[in-house]
């Protein structure tokens, strides 16, 4: 009796949460897949017809936005690695007793709503805003200088939004490095640059991979930054999906686009996770 109870306990504990995930994460995915193969309209209802044409139609109609999103996401991740690595490095190796304080400062933006932060950026970048107006007055920028509405503004916004997600995993990886390993490299006459290149950087790579994972997916599928900071020239796939779902109620083709985006991203994510081990990624993600 006791043994039966013990073997049942983990299942009973897992059941409610697992069921919630199944019902509201896995089942909706299946529903959306089914919806993406249906035909009809919002008034007369949708019928499942295995209509693969939805995919062909919506991908060919919005491939520009899809590719643009992937490009923006990739640029964002690369810029983030370049920006975040030195900071993570400095905090991990020179932060001393104030490491936690520096990490806290890096995390400060998370205490402000995502939408509100992006709106603050729009205020800063607007043509006669708090940032550009004084610079133009001082003659540091030409009077017709404009950044809002450009790809630069959108990517800068994405970089801003997800910076902490890149700093943290790289920091965690660097923090784990045994200083004796680096000392050993030095004892073996490796130059500082060589020991960085051959010892520190390879050991930090899992952190970089995790950072890419945690930034590329949300950046590629984001629509807040491109909506608030961009223009019709910078429309991303998220904006298309959002308006197809919420304004046009064109559920089948919106579902097809959403599913396409997820397939593209998840293939990337799972091949990453495979190379890395799911556990490791989860651990870093939990920090």
């Amino acid at each position: 009796m006791d043994r039966v109870k013990r073997t049942l306990t983990p299942y009973l504990l897992v059941l409610p949460g697992g069921l919630w995930l199944l019902l509201f994460f896995a089942v909706p995915m299946a529903t959306m897949l089914s919806l993406s193969l249906q035909e009809g309209d919002i008034v007369n209802g949708f019928v499942f017809t295995g209509h693969w044409q939805n995919y062909v139609d919506s991908i060919s109609a919005y491939q520009t936005q899809l590719i643009r999103s992937l490009v923006y996401g990739a640029i964002t991740s690369v810029v983030l690695i370049v920006l975040a690595f030195p900071v993570a490095y400095w905090i991990a190796f020179y932060g001393g007793r104030k490491k936690a304080t520096y990490l806290f400062l890096i995390l400060l933006p998370f205490f402000v709503s995502f939408v509100l932060r992006t709106i603050s950026w729009r205020m800063l970048l607007t043509d006669d805003g708090v940032l550009l107006h004084p610079l133009k007055e001082a003659g540091l920028l030409p009077a017709d200088f404009q950044v809002l509405g450009t790809a630069t503004a959108v990517i800068a916004g994405l970089v801003y939004s997800f910076l902490p997600f890149m700093v943290l995993p790289i920091y965690v990886a660097l923090e784990r490095i045994d200083p004796r390993v680096v000392e050993a490299a030095r004892d073996l006459y490796a130059s500082p640059l060589t020991s960085f290149r051959k010892v520190i950087f390879p050991l930090a790579l899992p952190g970089v991979f995790a950072g890419v994972l945690m930034t590329f997916v949300p950046a590629t599928s984001d629509y807040v930054n491109s909506e608030l900071l961009g223009s019709s020239e910078t429309t991303m796939i998220g904006q298309v999906i959002q308006s197809q779902f919420l304004s046009n109620s064109d559920y089948p083709s919106a579902s097809a686009l959403s599913f396409t985006l997820m397939t593209v991203l998840l293939i990337g994510v799972f091949s990453y996770a495979r190379a890395l081990g799911t556990e490791d990624v989860m651990k870093v993600a939990a920090r």
Binding site: W20, I106, L108, M123, F196, L246, L266, A273
Partner: protein, 264 residues
């Protein structure tokens, strides 16, 4: 620790520049809560005033949206806290069949784009003809935050010293008593950080809420809907209050947990 590569001064300065960049829009948000704009647009500095702090709840629709956000966040924190603790404790404590599949499911829920989770939930609700509102928002929020709670709790449970349980058993405590008197107090800080994380994720969420809210407004949704007509300074004041409250809570919980860490 001497890992001198040179240029660490430069890196120090760079770190502070980056922090300044991160803080800049927050400073703008706080500053414009004290602005006295003449027109509808709170975008250029017109003079200092404290009146918005007095009239912070003057806009009924905005206040209602904030209340919805807070209620949903509390419900999410409680439900996701309970469900996530169950998963985290079981995964950290036992090895059982299906644990791998559950891990995969949680990983997928953490790694999936919010846009896709939001749109798929909308697909489900639309197909079922389910009404959209605070309940559907809460369902969605619990879905995406339960895995985070589970991961945080599991990380603590994995490090539990098994001999504590054995000692309790030797002293004649039942499994139930051992859990509540020994295990639970030890993992409580982890549960609480999981609950706080769920609360924070919920109150800030925009994308998934955008898809599952229907006509209901939450704080982020209200802001999103009002950007074109101009944001009232009350939004800045509320944002500042949430920011200050969050920072204060984080600092306090850090200070409180410090002496405990030393004795452990």
């Amino acid at each position: 620790m001497r890992l001198r590569i040179g240029g660490d001064r430069l890196l120090h300065v760079y770190t502070w520049i980056l922090i300044a960049w991160l803080v800049l829009p927050i400073a703008v948000m706080i500053l414009f809560g004290f602005n006295d704009p003449q027109g509808r647009y709170n975008q250029t500095w017109q003079g200092f005033t404290l009146k918005w702090y007095g009239e912070v709840f003057a806009l009924e629709a905005l206040t209602d949206a904030l209340v919805v956000s807070l209620l949903v966040a509390v419900a999410t924190a409680l439900i996701a806290g309970a469900l996530g603790t169950g998963i985290g404790y079981a995964l950290g404590r036992w090895q059982f069949r299906g644990a791998g599949a559950l891990n995969l499911l949680m990983f997928a829920a953490i790694a999936s784009p919010e846009l896709v989770m939001g749109s798929s939930l909308l697909s489900l609700f639309v197909s079922l003809g389910a009404p959209l509102g605070p309940v559907s928002i809460t369902i969605a929020h619990v879905m995406f935050s339960v895995s985070f709670v589970a991961v945080v709790v599991r990380a603590r449970v994995v490090t539990l010293d098994r001999s504590l349980e054995e000692a309790a058993a030797d002293l004649g405590a039942s499994g139930w008593t051992t859990f509540w008197k020994v295990i639970f107090p030890i993992i409580l800080p982890a549960i609480l950080s999981g609950v706080m994380l769920a609360f924070a994720l919920s109150i800030d969420d925009f994308v998934i809420t955008n898809f599952t809210a229907g006509t209901t407004q939450t704080f982020p949704l209200w802001i999103w809907g009002s950007t074109r007509v101009g944001l009232p300074p009350q939004v800045n004041v509320m944002g500042t209050m949430i920011f200050a409250g969050g920072v204060l809570l984080a600092v306090l919980s850090n200070v409180r947990s410090r002496p405990r860490r030393k004795t452990a």
